[in-house]
């Protein structure tokens, strides 16, 4: 299918997200859309896939103008999009997810759907069991499922948004082979939205670069990465240098730690971090590095072993009233025994015994209730203890875990200010957040809701809210989805923190980032720490092999 975009404009209030973009997509080609954060890539792709309507401009499919009301509309005309976060239903099985797209009126054709999936999966060498529940699949498998689904629904133009984020090297290889076959054998049109220049260079035949909502230019490949960068930023951008800092005394220690969740258990992990040290965690998604990060924060309990921060154990504060529920039980037993003695000696008869038991039960239940209230009141979770001692955890899910949607920036500021006063000093909170907004380059106002900010700004907000002094910061994918400039900016910030002695432990899927930003790298594979290596002495290839399970 030949797709032509003519003079697409999209205006959100004061923001002109797309300014007159015109481009042509030919069948049998693989295109890349590149651009810095905020350049308008996502908006353009949302318009092409029917998610949003353009303010003005036309989309021509094989020369005929098309207006998409919804993504379903677009799909019926042959335009399908694979989103970065899969648009599926995790609690359902694969075949059920697949059937959702078909309106078969009453009866669901399970066998036919499974067969279709199987045929497509075989052709592209995907290993997908139609009967498996989606929530037990990896991100890469879900993405494969999504591709199959769109193909089965007859997509001729396939848009993939950051398809290689969070998937394994093998899955990436399988995906790229699929993309090539779709383009060159089936004459489909493929559009790739990506930040990763190497992948674009490897896969695509033409690149469109957006800058500030406009089409800055296009480039036929092959070309060099530098050419692309020039087009994207107007100049070449290098990753900022990382100056070596002497590590100080030990901050975090995990000794013989075992922890896990339903899917994966990590046994006997040893790791320690010293002041100013940066340790990167490498591994395929779900190999244990995420669990380690959460265990180090005290967010998941250790089954065995010890976690210390500045030589003090992080295990949560047990309430000094922990014994009180036992008193309630003991009280009940004593009453019961006394009643029985009374009954044997003939002092208590019949109903009075039942009444006595009831009263004893009510009284001991009251004691139990009060003791539980006291216990909740006086205990402290391991994570909050970790936080009070100067630890911080920055999750990857910004709106799921890191921030509170529908609260303003000022409210966030007031929330994290260790404020033991009863009332909130709103003016003080506003002054501090204004300062941070400026210092951290956040595009937003003190009264903006955090969910109104863009992803990059949410990321900066989370970093701005980190407390001082900071002994240790744990980061889940600190720069995922950010362009090089933003990522550099964030790492510069951590460099400043390092000078103050903050230790940094982070996980990332970007091997270059791991190698360039860490002092040491801990590599995980299948729940095991297969190696702890000096970042200066390992190549990206070796790192790749270790992630695949080879020992150092």
């Amino acid at each position: 299918m030949r797709v032509e975009l003519q003079d697409i404009h999209k205006v959100f209030g004061l923001v002109h997200a797309n300014r007159g973009i015109s481009l042509i997509l030919e069948p049998g080609s693989i295109y890349a859309v590149l651009g810095e954060n905020g350049a308008g890539k996502s908006t353009l792709m949302k318009i092409l896939s029917g998610f949003q309507k353009p303010t003005s401009g036309t989309i021509l499919l094989d020369g005929k103008p098309a207006i998409f009301e919804t993504p379903i509309d677009a799909l019926q005309r042959g335009v399908g999009m694979v989103y970065q976060d899969p648009a599926d239903f995790p609690p359902l099985r694969v075949v059920e997810n697949h059937l959702l797209a078909y309106d078969t009126k009453f009866q669901l054709a399970f066998t036919a759907a499974a067969d279709t999936l199987h045929t497509y999966a075989q052709r592209f060498n995907f290993h997908i069991d139609p009967q498996v529940h989606v929530d037990s699949m990896t991100l890469g498998e879900r993405q494969q499922m999504e591709v199959l689904r769109l193909l089965a629904l007859g997509a001729d133009l396939l848009i993939l948004d950051e398809p290689t984020t969070g998937i394994s090297a093998e899955q990436k290889e399988a995906l790229f082979n699929t993309i090539r076959r779709l383009a060159y054998e089936d004459q489909k049109t493929i559009v790739l939205v990506s930040h990763k220049l190497e992948e674009v260079l490897e896969l695509c035949s033409e690149v469109f670069v957006l800058r500030q909502g406009e089409l800055a230019g296009s480039l036929k490949l092959p070309a060099t990465a530098n050419d692309l960068v020039k087009l994207m930023f107007g100049q070449e951008t290098e990753r900022t240098e990382r100056s070596p800092i002497d590590a100080g005394k030990s901050v975090l220690t995990l000794a013989h730690a075992s922890f896990g969740d339903r899917r994966l258990t990590c046994e006997s992990i040893d790791l320690s971090l010293r002041e100013s040290e940066v340790v990167g965690l490498a591994g395929l998604e779900g190999s244990g590095q995420g669990l380690l990060l959460r265990a180090a924060a005290g967010l998941i309990p250790l089954k065995e072993g010890k976690l210390t921060l500045d030589d003090l154990p992080v295990e949560g504060k047990r309430s000094p009233f922990f014994w009180m529920p036992w008193v309630a039980g003991l009280f009940f037993l004593i009453r019961l025994v006394m009643l029985m003695i009374g009954r044997v000696s003939g002092a208590i008869v019949g109903l009075a015994l039942l009444g006595g038991i009831a009263v004893a039960a009510i009284l001991s239940a009251t004691i139990w209730l009060i003791s539980e209230i006291l216990i909740v009141w006086t205990s402290e979770s391991a994570y909050h203890q970790f936080q009070k001692r100067g630890g911080a955890f920055v999750p990857a899910g910004r709106l799921e875990e890191g921030l509170v949607p529908n609260l303003t920036l000022t409210e966030h500021m007031a929330l994290v200010t260790p404020d033991h006063q009863f009332t909130v000093h709103w003016d003080r909170a506003e002054t501090s957040i204004k300062e941070l907004i400026q210092r951290y380059n956040i595009i937003g106002r003190p009264n903006s809701l955090v969910n109104e900010l863009s992803g990059g700004n949410q990321q900066r907000t989370m970093l701005a809210l980190l407390r001082n002094p900071l002994r240790l910061v744990l980061l889940e994918h600190p720069t995922r989805g950010l362009d090089i400039t933003s990522a550099n900016w964030i790492w510069d910030l951590f460099q400043e923190r390092r000078l103050e002695g903050t230790a940094i432990l982070f996980m990332s899927a970007d091997l270059d980032e791991l190698r360039e930003r860490s002092d040491r790298i801990a590599v995980f594979s299948g729940g095991e720490m297969v190696g702890l290596v000096d970042a200066n002495e390992i190549t990206v290839e070796d790192l790749g092999h270790m992630i695949g399970g080879q020992r150092a």
Binding site: L369, V376, N406, L415, V424, E452, G456
Partner: protein
Amino acid sequence: MNTRTFLQKIWPSVPILLAALVITLLLLIVSDNSPLVTYEALWTGSFGSADRTLSTLAFWVPLLLCSTGLLVTFTAGLWNIGVEGQMVMGAIGASWIALRLSAANPAIPGWIIIPVELLTAMGLGALWAALAAVLKIRGGVHEIFGGVALNSLAIIFTNYLISGPWQPPEGGSFRGTQPFPQQALLPLLDPSRFSPLSLGLALLALLAVVLTLRGTHWGLRLKALGKNLRGAFILGVSSEREAILAMMFCGALAGLAGSVRVLSWFDSLRQSISGGIGFLAILIVLLAGMRPLWSLFIALVFSALLNGGTIVQLRTQLHSSLSGIIQGTLVLFVLLFGDFDRLFGPNQPQSEVMEVADE
């Protein structure tokens, strides 16, 4: 907030009220009743005379107290369905003091006995709410299920007390205990069942809640919890502690509402002590979208409707469920068209603007 901004905030509800009245008007015409007579009866029944007005106010107070408490739990993201049971426990607590302490020691004056009654009621209500919270935190029982169970338990307990230990000397009747001594009752505005003191307390509670949610650190923590439990925890809020506290706060106010019921609306502990006020309060707070002033106003409208309903029945032989119908249509219309901020708000596309500002 001055009157003008208050009116500005309140006016969008006027067409909804009118629409509900028109629907009921049509119903009345279809069923061959004179709407004029009916509405007139509804008005006289609720605000027609000093007597009726006071009765409406008297019913309003516990409704207001419960909604005020629920503002806190809803803000914290907790579905405190157990508010009904907490109210009943409050009523039991107040009755306990009135029956056991005051009746046995008539010499204790009202100004001592009444605070003791109210505090006991609040304490018992708070404990009952804490039970639901502890079940949730320790046992993983969702507060809705815990609340429903505790509601039934509270009512069973009332029935047991009425027919058992607290039955009147002339024999158990299942209807209620014997009337409390005069000094144990709240001072009433004669000849009604309205106690100005209770209204004062309710308004004070509402004011306190508004100020708490706007200006205190605790209020902010609750807000954060309600909007994102996980995020609030990561940012340093102890979710368990705040949940118990919020539940107990609401339970205390519900308990107070229960004591107002036994000490002014009735003069003894009755089987029907709650009158469904707890559930009604949940509806009110949800309709008001958790805005305090709105819940104040909607609670008054509901109280008026329920009070007027009885007079309608007397005058027109129409069943008193007419108020229920009006209430139902109101709810329906609010649900259909009620998102005033989006309908009338000045700058709606703003959020979309920021979202793409630099994606």
